[in-house]
Symmetry: C2
Subunit: 263 residues, 2 copies
């Protein structure tokens, strides 16, 4: 059994130091975990007034106070962290999530399905849909609005993700209904780490959620409070893709009928 | 607004005449509908003791007492009917659904994802994933276990299905949780017409369900009773694929990242 969960909080727009302090204050509640997921753009907040504003609050991974902080926490508590991160690379911004361990920075995902005016701020992700074997399990990462595209949940599960980490800044309540079903269909554990609070005209919905490979909600958070929830997962459940003794979630796909999906 | 719904009943294994009588007795409750969906294998029942047993209870569409009966009902009530149908073609059996209108037989779908020992009885469907423009809307058809494959819901919606008709003989309760989410993601109305009752060692779960293009359950049936439920649908809701003013359910798909789905 492994222990995994989320830290739900309320990032402050454009104030990384305050966000680091808040995460630091909540991490002791996560000390027993092996894996923790933080919300989307946990370093910077979400609702930038302009691309310049977003740029001012982004960091390059190789030179990032926020990433260094995450690694320190990973070392202190001996766990892996997936955290949404406003990432700058030269003149480009990406809505990214970083994966760190006690050994340091392990990898990143850059969001491919951009929401509303994110399209004017961030580049579309260009690192594909990676999965990461972190020893005790294999994880994939999606970010917020990616949730509405069943293709990417499917791909990560087919690539071997046992747990799909889903840093989010959700506004609408739909994802919390859909994410467990993605898990049911693909037989994965899913961790949606959402934020709460309001930034200018946007209110985020909280209700972070962890679901099991049968679509069952294992734990949720309140819509408007800090929350750290850690639960035990039996990773074997995610590795058994037999829906029945004669039906396999992936091998039963009739791929020759699916070409329309990429036409 | 159109009116669509389901007839949930308890087909008797190997007794088409009794099944026809039962459907006939329930159809007056559907008289206001434009479109009605019946369960999977509504003519024959489900849990055959052998392939021969299934064969004895199948019909060819061109020479079918059951299809002729459906057309008579479609004429009597001036509606379209989608009904699960144990279909014989020469020496092959298909787990099919027929679409009929007052004008006669319009088309069929043959189930592609076969469940458990259906694999020993039926051929895999060989008519693809058709959609049917029936004037007041466009429909697609899936059958029972197809529900667990998000690919096929996606494809039918992308092909223009406003309503996905889902004749079923469900055993487990998972589909009723998942089908509304398929509808939310693809912005379709979904009608799962399930059966109830027990055949030998298999008990079916009833709870037929209609959901809207936002994932909301519009109506459900009891787990163990005949039920006819008809609701109004605003087809415009299914034709608006804008998730936000800047996000389209299909145009926002990043197809170049999806090739793994058919690799």
């Amino acid at each position: 059994m492994i222990k995994a969960g989320f830290v739900q909080f309320n990032p402050v727009l454009g104030d990384q130091e305050t966000n680091i302090k808040k995460i630091k204050s909540l991490m002791p509640l996560a000390k027993d975990a092996d894996l923790i997921v933080l919300p989307e753009l946990a370093n910077s907040g979400y609702n930038f007034v302009s691309k310049d504003h977003a740029f001012e609050n982004a960091e390059e991974i190789a030179n990032s106070r926020f990433i260094d902080f995450l690694i320190d926490e990973a070392r202190k508590y001996n766990l892996h962290i997936v955290a949404g991160f406003n990432e700058r690379e030269n003149n480009n911004l990406y809505n990214s999530s970083a994966l760190v361990s006690p050994e340091g920075f392990l990898g990143k995902y850059r969001k491919i399905h951009l929401f509303l005016n994110e399209k004017e701020i961030f580049q579309k992700g260009n690192v594909g849909l990676p999965v990461f074997d972190i020893g005790f399990c294999t994880i994939g990462i999606l970010i917020c609005f990616d949730w509405i595209f069943p293709e990417v949940w499917r791909i990560l599960a087919m690539k071997g993700a046992d747990i799909i980490c889903h840093p989010s800044n959700l506004v609408l309540p739909y994802a919390q209904q859909a994410v467990p079903v993605h898990g049911m269909i693909n037989r994965t554990f899913n961790i949606t780490a959402n934020r709460y609070g309001t930034e200018r005209d946007v209110t985020f919905s909280g209700k972070s959620i962890i679901s099991d490979p049968f679509g069952k909600t294992m734990v949720t958070a309140a819509p408007d409070k800090d929350a750290v929830k850690i639960i035990e997962m039996d990773i074997k459940q995610a590795r058994n893709k037999m829906i029945t003794p004669q039906n396999h979630a992936f091998d039963d796909r009739i791929v020759e009928e699916y070409s329309y999906l990429i036409s």
